[in-house]
């Protein structure tokens, strides 16, 4: 493929939204209240919509007949390049919110930069997504504050979720080979430059939510290279079930 780097780069961005969107979609009919259920699935829908734009573009670049659906549904686990954070399970509502919050702050900053990409398709997608993601970030930040600065029990659960998920945050700022290549061409975003501002905003909000900032210096990584936690396999078996069972089926 001529544009292998660009193709990989798009998939790296899109897989985060795809896998997180699938996680949020799991709450459909299972949210803690009707309003939060609808909110989580709305976020999921936004993310899937964004993923379609990315995969349609990737499919055009691949130019080998693979459709957006093939790219979304028919890859093997190691071929998904999402960050580990996105695939972490919905252990309880605090984990769902914690994961969303830690991702949203990054996602919003990332998209703001991607709008300046010299690749006009990516810039246009980012321009569209940034509006939706700023809404997600409001939602998840509000809930972190509400749970953190809530009852003793909600605070303890929110703290536990943040403590556990913290180890997956550093990976957001790692650059793959394709990332580096795209940054050098002015197409990609240099995520390393977003890191300080990210931790500053996250810490500020956690303080407001009366939560402790984890002091762990050990961080997990691997998702961007296709080395995932055990959770992804289960998620993919759900996600891919219909296409694997009834190949090429359509609604």
């Amino acid at each position: 493929m001529k544009n292998q780097y660009l193709y990989n780069y798009i998939l790296g961005i899109a897989d985060n939204s795809l896998i997180l969107g699938q996680r949020m979609g799991e709450l459909c009919g299972h949210g803690p209240s009707l309003e939060t259920d609808i909110a989580c699935t709305n976020i999921s829908l936004d993310l899937f919509g964004q993923v379609r734009s990315y995969f349609q573009y990737a499919s055009k670049i691949a130019g080998d007949g693979r459709t957006e659906d093939d790219i979304a549904m028919l890859r093997k686990e190691r071929e998904y390049k999402n960050v580990l954070l996105a695939e972490q399970p919905n252990t309880n509502f605090a984990y769902t919110i914690g994961r969303q919050f830690l991702f949203d702050v990054y996602h919003l900053a990332f998209l703001k930069e991607l709008q300046k990409s010299t690749d006009l398709t990516l810039a246009a997608i980012a321009n569209k997504c940034v509006k939706e993601v700023s809404y997600h970030e409001r939602f998840s930040s509000d809930w972190v504050k509400r749970l953190g600065d809530g009852t003793e029990q909600s605070r303890q659960k929110m703290q536990e979720a943040i403590d556990d998920l913290w180890t997956y945050t550093d990976e957001l700022f790692h650059l793959t080979e394709s990332d580096k290549e795209m940054v050098s061409q002015g197409i990609g975003v240099d995520a390393t430059l977003l890191k300080d501002a990210y931790y500053n905003s996250v810490k500020e909000l956690l303080e407001e939510a009366t939560l402790h900032i984890p002091d762990s210096k050990y961080f997990q990584k691997g998702g961007k290279k296709g080395i995932h936690t055990e959770h992804l396999g289960y998620l993919l078996s759900d996600l891919q079930y219909m296409q694997r069972t009834y190949p090429n089926m359509e609604w």
Partner: protein, 166 residues
């Protein structure tokens, strides 16, 4: 107000105005501002539409509806989905805003007011049933991606608010 060029052939306006948003049937896609261009080239109409929200499932249906309306009118149709410039609620026409209100969906406020309503709980959105501004946000997210849920504290009517998107 975001101004961007909208290029629609006069002969097509009447046809396109009859196509409505499948989720808000009182609202024509023209008043919604999702049709960005429609040009006749020989016997083919090239239409560009833009999604309100990325994941809006109505877009596929809208594309199909436009196609069938044009075919009925004797044209061939090609539909393209464009992302840039991104759709904004500013593109809803005043007739569209009125149709929303009549349907029971509060039309979007301006960006600043929207923010203070959704983030600070200010009471500015008027109830579509009784007109009172004594309303509260129930949830930032509603029955579709473009709406938030509200309730009127005076007449108790629950209603949707069309979120401002800039």
């Amino acid at each position: 107000m975001t101004t961007t060029k909208q290029n629609i052939d006069n002969d097509l306006v009447a046809i396109l105005e009859k196509v409505s948003d499948p989720e808000i049937p009182v609202l024509s896609i023209m008043d919604m501002g999702v049709v960005r261009s429609a040009i006749i080239i020989d016997d083919t109409v090239k239409v560009e539409i833009t999604p309100t929200y990325s994941g809006c499932p109505a877009m596929d249906v809208i594309g199909d509806d436009i196609k069938s309306a044009l075919i009925k009118a004797g044209y061939k149709a090609e539909i393209d989905l464009i992302l840039y410039p991104a759709w904004t609620t500013d593109w809803i026409t005043s007739r569209g805003r009125k149709a929303l209100e009549d349907y029971g969906i509060a039309a979007p406020l301006d960006a600043e007011a929207d923010k203070s309503v959704l983030l600070e709980g200010k009471r500015l959105v008027k109830c579509t049933n009784c007109g009172s501004a004594n309303t509260r946000m129930v949830s930032q997210f509603g029955s579709t991606a473009c709406k938030a849920q509200f309730q009127c504290e005076d007449c108790q009517e629950p209603f949707d608010y069309f979120k401002c998107l800039k």
